[in-house]
Amino acid sequence: MVRLDGFVHGIYPKSEKLRVRIGRWERGSLSADELNDLIAEETTVYEDLFEGHALHTDPLFSWYDIFRPVVLMSSGMDLGPLTRFEETNTFYRIPQLHGPPSLRIPPDVFHELPENPPLPLYHSRKDPALFLPGPETLFRFSRNVGNLERRTFLEATCLIYAGIVTKLKPARTFIMERVKVDGIALEAISRITDPSGIMLFTTGNLEGNTFSGKQHRFHSIIVDPTRSNLQVARDHSTVPGIKLVDGHNTRMESVDEIRKKAEELSRGMNIERMIVANSDYLDFLPRKIADQKVKLLAGLGE
């Protein structure tokens, strides 16, 4: 029987207390320092949900959207207007690309940002996987006002990411690609850090030849749940991952349902260990439901 490890990634829904305090900070009646302290406290509350089980990223309580802090920390990019995020009822400030980006503010120290809670980027204390928006996704979800060449942008962005990883030294780096990636993007991503520490979140149907010919294996490639995707993930990563917990629906999955689905998908593939992840970050759900989904994923390995 395949061993399943739960994994929770991305922006996590905030508690009511944190929402109220951020509102106060936005109105100027709470200092950025005080807000930063509260975000650290709330991050601890979030990590306690796992009780030591299941890998996770930082809950990113200080990220207003999955691109914003990265954009605000870098030169060569700024924020455009509020824009619908994919086909959801949520919105993000579309990044505007003016020139090859470079890091201008360190990620790990307190720093006030305009139109976003202050840095640091992460508040976890339990060595989580480090979350970064996929460079290809950042490019595709932006307005390329400077007519940057894609390869130039991807390489410059991955250089920023390499700087962040070098500074923070996480055991794992989680890269969220919400669009299809090709060989050029994969090359850039594999230079962020040792690929054996990278967890790559992919979207859509993967083609084996995109990954073949590479010298490296990723730690994990997390895929949409089809057998052909899982096969690519098995061939090119140490622990293949699969999205089996819906980040867009309040319906609760059960452990049995997940186990059954995982067994069906991996039948005959000789996979001993598999990561089970949320299909999207859980900030699309109410906090109460997200907490239940975390407990479910944390309990999978037991």
């Binding site: 959207d65 993000y92 867009h248 309040t250 319906r251 699309f284 439901i289």
Partner: protein, 346 residues
Amino acid sequence: MADKNLILQEIGSFRKPEYLSKNFHQLEGTEEFNVLAGKATVETLDLFRKSGLENLGVGGEMFRWEMYEALANNIGNLEFYGMVRSFDNRYYRKGSVTGPVVRKHPFHRDELEFLLANTHDRLKLPITGPYTMMDWSFNEYYRDRRELANAYADAINKELRELKEIWDHRRKGEIFEVQIDEPAATTHPSEMDIVVESVNRSFEGISGIEPSIHVCYSIDYAYLYNTMADLKVHGLNLEFANRDTLTLGKGLDHRPGYADLKEYAAMNDTLSRKKFMGLGVTDVHIDDIESVELIKDRIETALDIIGDPSLVRINPDCGLRTRSRETGFEKLRNMALATAAVRKEL
């Protein structure tokens, strides 16, 4: 006699007076609430009249807090687990459908009865559409999004049948104007067939009404225009001013926000029964009061494309609830003054 060209209408919501908004949720469902919502409605109808509006809608939706909850709070098997983020630190309540969608209580009966008892003005009832209700709900029960949208459509159809009876009781022989609000209509382009099916189902079997659809902040109105032949509505009330500039000038070189109208006009030309266009001419998301001249430029640019002024109605982009009552009034007044100036030259 009322002019049939460039009818001046509002779209839906208007900022509530503080005496109503500050205790809205605490009072909702009580007799005191009905008194305060009624008072606010009368005041808003009066404000609309003074601004020059000809169709007064429902007096700014004083009986409703928000378009999703107005229906959701009256539907069975819809559970609320908490707030969901829209953007930054802004949140909304998104319900989860956990069983069959059933209309537990009427959605807008009190509001319509109050209006019919208190005014003889031309009215238009906005109601949140089935596709948007589906898209803004979690689906834990139905097989797919189509089934859920159609379930909402059935609940809306039941509501509209009852409202039509109430309407006929007071205004027999007069057309009942109903605007179905579908801000989510074009957010999933591959689902336009679900939009058409569920909207049509909402109006099915109800005669003596003038159905229209309101869509705003669309990624591309072409998705909507392409459904015009199948969508059983008499008109589209859309947002345009938000995508336009604030500088003066006529023609699409100066009015880029209205470029889409060419596609609408081309599609309309193919229809045996033409659909009117409710033209958004004032941006509800900015405090700038667009000048009479600017609005006139917008209307005339649209008329150059559409041709027949009886096919054009004039309205704000969306409900004005996000602006103060004073700003909202000034925007409506300039809209009416600009329309009057255009009519003189027709």
